[in-house]
């Protein structure tokens, strides 16, 4: 029977790679502040605080 020599993966945690909380917070705030308005086929973006 074939022998396998690889390490068992159970118990080993792959590191969680995800963006920082501040980045997510920035994006959510950016989204809340961004307002797009249209007048006469023109589009305006405004960042409102």
């Amino acid at each position: 029977m074939e022998k396998t020599y690889s390490q068992p993966t159970s118990g080993q945690k792959t590191p969680q790679i995800e963006p920082k909380r501040e980045t997510i917070q920035f994006l959510l705030s950016f989204s809340q502040a961004l307002s797009v308005s249209r007048t006469n086929n023109l589009e305006f973006e405004a960042l409102l605080n």
């Binding site: 994006l27 989204s31 307002s35 797009v36």
Partner: protein, 194 residues
């Protein structure tokens, strides 16, 4: 209690209609996958952070402007944006290479002597002489405009004021000057490159 999973398409629709929480849910749902994808390409946490942020800024702007039309395919769409931004990052980086001071770094690998060697200088001088000679064969009005524009770096407004013709006429003379130069160059099989 059973929790109901709201699908991406619904969240996108709700977000477009003004529900900011939906965006938060979409980001929470996909952030790890998108971030890991970016990190797997750039291998740098800070750059991954920047690309991730730029990706979602693009997503937010597109959704708010009502330009999104791929309902049901939110994640592949975001991944494509991230992929394009990763490519942009590498393109930018190639143009402006970063140097770390580790290893055997040679300054001569990035610096080059841009001055011409003797042979190239002679070729350039000859080209300049040839160009001047064919310019002299142009009609007087075209020659005047071309010299002011190329050698004196004057704007067409300045040329029109100096020569007393309209800007359009000056532009026309420049155009004909270039056409005529090309004709002479082609006719005589001249090679004017260094």
């Amino acid at each position: 209690m059973k929790t109901v999973l709201i699908d991406d398409a619904t969240l996108v629709r709700n977000y477009i209609q003004g529900d900011e929480k939906s965006l938060s849910m979409l980001i929470a749902r996909h952030k790890q996958r998108i971030y890991s994808f970016i990190y797997s390409k750039v291998y740098d946490r800070d750059i991954s952070e920047d690309v991730f942020q730029d990706t979602f800024i693009k997503v937010i702007r597109t959704l708010k402007r009502g330009k999104y039309n791929e309902e049901g395919k939110f994640l592949p769409w975001v991944m494509r944006i991230a992929h394009n931004l990763v490519i942009d990052h590498f393109r930018r980086n190639n143009r402006m290479p970063k140097f770390d001071n580790t290893g055997e770094f040679s300054i001569f690998s990035v610096l080059s002597d841009s001055s011409l060697n003797a042979e190239k200088q002679m070729v350039r001088d000859q080209v300049n002489i040839d160009v001047k000679r064919i310019i002299e064969e142009l009609p007087e009005d075209q020659k005047e405009v071309l010299k002011m524009r190329i050698y004196q770096e004057m704007s067409f407004k300045e040329i029109s004021e100096r020569t007393g013709v309209s800007i359009n006429t000056a532009l026309g003379r420049m155009r004909y000057a270039l056409i005529n130069l090309r004709k002479v160059i082609e006719k005589n099989n001249m090679i004017l490159t260094n």
